[in-house]
Symmetry: C2
Subunit: 171 residues, 2 copies
DNA sequence: CAAAGATCTATGAAAAAGAATATTTTTATG
DNA sequence: CATAAAAATATTCTTTTTCATAGATCTTTG
């Protein structure tokens, strides 16, 4: 057996690549860049994120995301709003237009996920998700404990959200 | 819970990103681009691959890989050799120089993988790998049944090695 | 409280990736 | 067998990403 075939990082990378591949093809047909999808999906529930937080979540470098947000803002898909307490930060929120673009993509994504999940047994799928979540929790940078303020009054967007609990970070 | 937090493709992508992240930082310190590592690791056991096969395995587009191979060939890390039966194809093989660069990276990669595996229970880790392998097998393009000829006689390279790392690093 | 350091986003130049297509060789077809 | 279609790699041109750093604001501390 070749080295990479048993190497966890490679298995993860390849599985990720293949799993996302099908949906990315779908995005491509619709003319939606992958980054745009990822940003919109992350902002789906209406809670805005700062550029840094968002970059971390969409797995991009901060300058890359800044420029992507520039483009998306120009297209009216998201907008920047200032953060009350801290004028260095900027929060990125989805707009109604962004939501309109996102909606059918979300539906397609759910369909696609179902196809993927059909490949493995249901309990196995559950365990897979849990294990991945554990890896993520153990490796993701700790949210700096001040990230859970609640004050972003929605302007043009309706939404409710649910800032959730502090991360485990045991290990 | 946010949409993406339960969405398998995202869990895979983020876990992959975080898991590889630590090692990529190590590569960066050593001045080795990620693509170079991936190509060398894929060629580690000496078997050469055509550009297309290699691109599929290292998760790059073919033109991207062609250009990476150009650079690596210029650096003497790999070399192209023609394929006997088909003059369209080119096989990319690791060189002694490439192997020399790879060796310590492999050791570091094994160390890193051990750290990661320590996060989850051993049986869980095994199941994780198996599940990922199953997804990959189900989604990867079928090898066209003619890919398994054996004739790559090594020219300038010594073969067979086994740099395995000791290093505890349990946690 | 002023200065130094840290944090956050943006920017600019350089490198890499991507899309489309050219080129060469192989395979299939009438 | 000639020609059309397919396949594999390379190339060109454009867009995106990356690296390094600037600019601005916040935090710490002597």
């Amino acid at each position: 057996m070749r080295f990479v075939d048993g190497y966890l990082p490679y298995l993860l990378a390849r599985a990720s690549h293949l799993v996302s591949g099908g949906f990315h093809a779908e995005l491509h047909r619709r003319g939606v860049p992958v980054g745009v999808w990822r940003v919109l999906a992350t902002l789906a529930d209406g809670e805005p994120f700062t550029v840094g937080e968002l970059a971390e979540r969409v797995l991009m470098k901060q300058p890359t995301l800044t420029k992507l947000v520039d483009r998306m803002e120009a297209d009216g898909l998201v907008r920047r709003r200032e953060v009350p307490g801290d004028r260095r930060k900027v929060r990125v929120a989805i707009t109604a237009r962004g939501r309109a673009l996102l909606e059918p993509l979300l539906a397609a994504a759910r369909r696609h996920e179902r196809e993927i999940l059909a490949i493995v047994a249901p309990e196995e799928a559950e365990l897979l998700k849990r294990t991945l979540a554990r890896l993520i929790a153990a490796l993701a940078p700790a949210p700096s404990a001040g990230e859970m303020e609640e004050d972003h009054a929605e302007g043009d967007d309706a939404r409710g959200k649910q800032a959730d609990a502090a991360e485990g970070l045991a290990q």
